[in-house]
């Protein structure tokens, strides 16, 4: 099902931005209200609920012991998956993940993996045989724009919240001590900032309206030291080199701002 954007909406959003304003009164580099709660799902080993404006999602982490991939015998496994639930928007359909959902989970995965949020090497129990496997499931409940930044924030928060039982090896057998739960080997709070290009301007944290009419989109994943760990350009129109550099610059301060919610 396609969503049809009235021409009048497009005109008014573009016009406002040209005037230096946004429909909800925000500055171009301003996030909507962020709320973050962790430990919301007792049955998950780690969880977080994120609200970004009216966008809402829950991230749950489940852990299990599994065999490592043969090319990385000493590394734990991280699997990121997302579901754009049909409850989240009238044009989301039930069924297997569509391309938007796959992009959301892959970009989130990249930001976490390349940002070295969790030290996967410390998740090895028996080399080549037993490692911890972490499933991150991003459950999108309400879609009102900018799922990407909410997903990364939620994923990092859920990982910080995750606890696994201590695993010891005796005679090649893994023994789990559920009395002694320990946090994951956590490294780094890598976070993501997404901008929409509308006309000649870049706006941070695009609302649903802005996403519907944007020309292009750019997401920047950044570690605390300001180094870039992941990027994704989206949207059907091009973006210039200068615009990308400008976005990177703004992202430095803005990921720092988001990071405060993780304290």
């Amino acid at each position: 099902m396609v969503s049809i954007i009235p021409e009048i909406t497009r005109e008014s959003v573009v016009y406002l931005i040209k005037e230096g304003k946004r429909a909800d009164g925000r500055a171009f580099d301003e996030y909507r209200e962020v709320s973050l709660e962790t430990g919301v799902i007792n049955k998950a080993e780690g969880s977080a609920k994120v609200k970004l404006g009216n966008t809402q999602l829950v991230v749950g982490a489940k852990t299990q012991i599994a065999e490592p991939f043969s090319d990385t015998p000493k590394m734990g496994v991280l699997m990121t998956n997302s579901e754009l639930l049909p409850m989240a928007a009238p044009n989301f359909e039930p069924g297997p993940p569509d391309e938007n959902s796959v992009e959301l989970s892959r970009v989130t995965d990249r930001c976490i993996r390349e940002g070295k949020v969790v030290d996967l090497e410390k998740l090895c129990i028996i080399e080549g045989k037993k490692v911890w496997m972490i499933f991150l499931d991003i459950h999108v409940l309400d879609y009102d724009g900018n799922l990407q930044d909410a997903a990364v924030l939620g994923a990092v928060a859920a990982l910080m919240n995750t606890k696994v039982p201590t695993a010891t090896v005796e005679n090649d057998e893994v023994i789990l001590d559920h009395e002694k739960m320990i946090p994951l080997p956590f490294n780094e709070k890598a976070l993501m900032c997404t901008f929409a290009k509308i006309g000649d301007e870049l706006v941070l944290d695009p609302s649903l309206e802005e996403e519907e009419i944007m020309d292009a989109r750019i997401s920047i994943g950044m570690r605390a030291d300001g180094s870039i760990c992941a990027m994704q350009k989206g949207g059907k129109k091009p973006i210039t080199r200068d615009e990308i550099l400008k976005a990177v610059n703004i992202a430095k301060n803005k990921t720092e701002e988001l990071r405060k919610y993780l304290e």
Partner: protein, 242 residues
């Protein structure tokens, strides 16, 4: 959505209370319902009952795209019951399985009698039930929350359907089985009903009950429904006033 931390670790039975979590035989788990929690959906509700956390969104009445499902004289009410991968102890693979397909079907049938579908020919009303955390009795929790979400969406209804289970655990007929009681127990009897008329719109049972025990169980389930019904009304009133 508001968080309550509910202790779901149940020990298995040497306490003085006959029930593992210390409840009386006719006592519900702590229950909380709120209406209108989502922005995009036409109607929504969030319910917590014991360790269950269930979110429901309603869309419609809206255009139905699948032609062969279309009813010329009334709307169809479609339900999708889905469990989050992290809602259970061992991660559930995303997507529908046989269990969730069955629950979706009976949920739709449980809600249908209460809705004035004839007012919206050729259209659909979609109910999406998401189980964020499961601790026994999620189908009942889903139906109870779905009715509140339908009301929140402004769908005209004859009654607010409510669901509750009773069953037999530790040799005793009890109301609202917890996960541990359901697993260890001898029987489970979930029902849904329209409280105004007392008509039953869903009934399932598995396990063993004598005729006399069944009668007691169904009375207990109805009693549970009546209590939950009050909470449903409270949630709607809280959102819209008296």
């Amino acid at each position: 959505m508001i968080k309550i931390t509910v202790e779901s670790d149940l020990s298995t039975g040497t306490e003085t209370s006959a029930r593992a979590d210390g409840r009386a035989f006719n006592e519900l788990r702590p229950l909380k319902i709120s209406a209108g929690v989502l922005e995009r959906a036409d109607g929504s509700a969030y319910l917590e009952m014991g360790g269950n956390k269930v979110l429901v969104a309603v869309y419609g009445p809206r255009e139905l795209h699948i032609r062969h499902m279309m009813q010329p004289d009334k709307a169809v009410l479609r339900c999708r019951y889905n469990m989050a991968p992290f809602s259970v102890d061992d991660r559930k693979r995303p997507g529908p399985d046989r269990r969730s397909v069955e629950i979706s079907k009976i949920t739709s049938e449980a809600l249908t009698p209460a809705v004035f579908l004839e007012k919206f020919p050729r259209s659909t009303i979609d109910v999406f039930i998401e189980v964020l955390e499961a601790e026994g009795g999620t189908r009942c929790a889903g139906i109870t929350a779905a009715s509140v979400a339908l009301a929140d969406a402004g769908i005209p209804m004859r009654d607010i359907v409510v669901a509750c289970a009773a069953g037999k655990s530790n040799g005793q007929v009890v109301m609202d089985l917890s996960e541990a009681e359901d697993k260890e127990g001898e029987a489970d009897l979930p029902i849904a009903m329209m409280p105004r008329t007392g008509e039953i719109t869903l009934l399932q049972m598995d396990g063993h009950l004598t005729g006399e025990e069944f009668e007691r169980a169904i009375d207990l389930a109805v009693e549970g429904c009546m209590k939950i019904s009050e909470e449903q009304k409270k949630a709607i009133k809280e959102r819209y006033g008296d």
